[in-house]
Symmetry: none
Subunit: 225 residues, 2 copies
């Protein structure tokens, strides 16, 4: 974990830097605003977190924070400053900082707040695909070759079922149960009709269909892509 600390008072800078190093962080220190700005912009991708004093000779912490946010929306920034009115805090946070500690602060609290910001958030996705067809359950979107294809509810539900079972056969009775109702009239041709709708929207002309017909059983999307 690499941290950039911009702080002009040497005593405070050393205190924080040493404390963080003991905790296993790699710390770069900038002792004035200009140096801080340069270091931040030169190696922005290298830093996992940035600590900024507000009042600095050369360039203020606010300016540095704005410059950082222009380049990189995600790297966490914490203000450490003696400016302690509510307006200061609000202003600092609106500039793009993720947290704001009023001096004097306890080192332990700084550490705890840094760890909060470093806890990585992992967003998971629910995407199923075959060849150049992609279906995103979360956003309810289907792409074909990168371009959006508008599907109706039933079309989407049917395609989702088939893709979730890629490589496996989907029996007609199971399709009826999952996409339509358990108590759906069993001799109907809705499935055929909807398979036809999907093929019209997703197949490439004069090419084998993306979904195989299993005569007497149901349908299957192959496993090969």
């Amino acid at each position: 974990m690499r941290v950039l600390l911009v702080e002009d008072e040497t005593a405070i800078a050393n205190f924080i830097a040493e404390g963080l190093e003991e905790e296993g962080f790699a710390v770069d220190v900038a002792h004035n605003g200009k140096e801080g700005l340069r270091m931040a912009l030169d190696n922005l991708a290298e830093y996992d977190l940035i600590l900024l004093d507000w009042m600095l000779p050369g360039a203020s912490g606010i300016e540095i924070c704005r410059a950082i946010r222009k380049e990189n929306q995600t790297v966490p920034v914490i203000f450490l400053t003696a400016k302690d009115t509510v307006d200061d805090v609000v202003f600092g946070l609106e500039t793009g900082a993720n947290d704001y500690l009023r001096k004097p602060f306890a080192f332990e609290e700084l550490l705890a707040r840094m760890r909060v910001l470093l806890r990585s958030s992992t967003g998971e996705q629910n995407i199923f695909s075959y060849a150049d067809i992609e279906l995103d359950v979360a956003t309810h979107r289907v792409l074909k070759g990168g371009k959006p294809v508008e599907l109706t509810q039933k079309e989407f539900a049917l395609l989702e079922l088939l893709l979730r079972n890629k490589g496996k056969a989907c029996r007609r009775t199971r399709i009826i149960e999952k996409v339509w109702d358990i108590n759906f009239d069993h001799d109907t041709s809705v499935i055929d009709v909807y398979i036809n709708f999907l093929r019209k929207k997703l197949d490439v002309p004069n090419q084998p269909s993306f979904v195989q017909t299993l005569r007497g059983i149901g349908y299957r999307i192959n496993d090969d892509a």
Copy 2:
């Protein structure tokens, strides 16, 4: 934006809830620990942010926070509490909270800190836009082609939800839950009416609407601008 507030002192709870509602949040209040725990776990996915008092009858804020983190790693949690030692703060943050405010706090600071957490859960932004429409969460204003457009709370909340999810489908049930209430009568046409209001205020006559209807699903603002 839907917020769960767990706070046993009625006066404080009302003060915060009303303030947040004026800012356009949908707020659910739990008045003791047990209720808070139940509400949090029952509808965790619906909340965009959770505010917890520490000392509560029934179950402590710490317990609630732990239970939340067991289920969901990402929803932002802020402690609001009179426990003000550094050890308390560190302990609270290590339990999984994202921020910690010592009582008494300024409402403005709470708001600013909430906005920090809400923008980082949606990509570090306070301004959302589509084509010449701009929505600023911080100032609660909407511009169309640079000119201010007056929107009501509900209109604003709906537009914000749609813009935060630009490119994604917003399902009707999700819209009802986020902008109206979790327990809102589900067969109502409020959504249609409000979409209509937004279209009247923001669309260009004889041009496709800024928001697409996804029949049977909900609405979407496209990704292309």
